[in-house]
Symmetry: C2
Subunit: 136 residues, 2 copies
């Protein structure tokens, strides 16, 4: 596995509308999509910065992963995602080499990507996502 | 201001050597530079992932910013840096618009870049750096 680029940076925010306004007005970025991911209990807003998306994450349920994160740690960076090719094989190889993976096989994430998470205890405190665009 | 790309993602780690080994062996990335930034009391290791650097940060002094971060929050993402053009003007404009900036004027950072930090309270909990390569 060798990641090709940083696919996105996920940032947990209390209020999606306020955060969108900040990135638009202060940074001159354009929010090109808002998407609700029901099974992750989040509403997301996307901005493109070069190769990388800023993915703002607002919780839709205090018991969801972002709701719990916000309650425990407050607003801030939730995870980073590396774009890879051969996601399924990468997860298998990492798992077999002793890296603690949350997802042993790919699952569907936002924007139709296939994704898998590594456990932050294996990645120096960084919740790390690997993702692959099945259309490419 | 409109950022062109994510210049780097700064990750605070307890042990630079172990973290370098992980990103090299598990992710197939190459550490292309190790640099000590004396006034920031850190030793940094750099990896290129597309347009973006992963910047691992090991503290050289418990009283430095990374030492304090590690003590308070543990390992994890410390900051993200957006590449911009016109850094000095961007900091002035943000400051004038009410965004709390840590650096009102640019200063020198790692790798010869000019940098300025925004306060995380202004940026939804994300310690945010803006940087500009003076050679470009």
């Amino acid at each position: 596995m060798k990641p090709t680029h940083i696919e996105h940076i996920g940032i947990a925010v209390n209020n999606l509308k306020e955060a969108i306004s900040f990135y638009e007005k202060s940074f001159g970025l354009e929010c090109y999509a808002i998407e609700e991911v029901a099974d992750q209990k989040v509403r997301t807003a996307f901005f493109m910065v070069g190769q990388t998306k800023i993915e703002l994450l607002e919780s839709t349920d205090p018991e969801g992963p972002i709701g719990k994160f916000l309650d425990k740690k407050g607003q801030g960076i939730h995870h980073i995602a590396f774009a890879v090719k051969g996601l399924a094989e990468a997860l298998t190889t990492l798992d077999a080499s002793g890296v603690t993976v949350i997802d042993k096989t790919p699952r569907k994430g936002a924007e139709g990507l296939n994704i898998g998470f590594l456990h932050p205890k294996a990645t120096f405190g960084v919740l790390t996502e690997l993702c692959e665009d099945p259309s490419k």
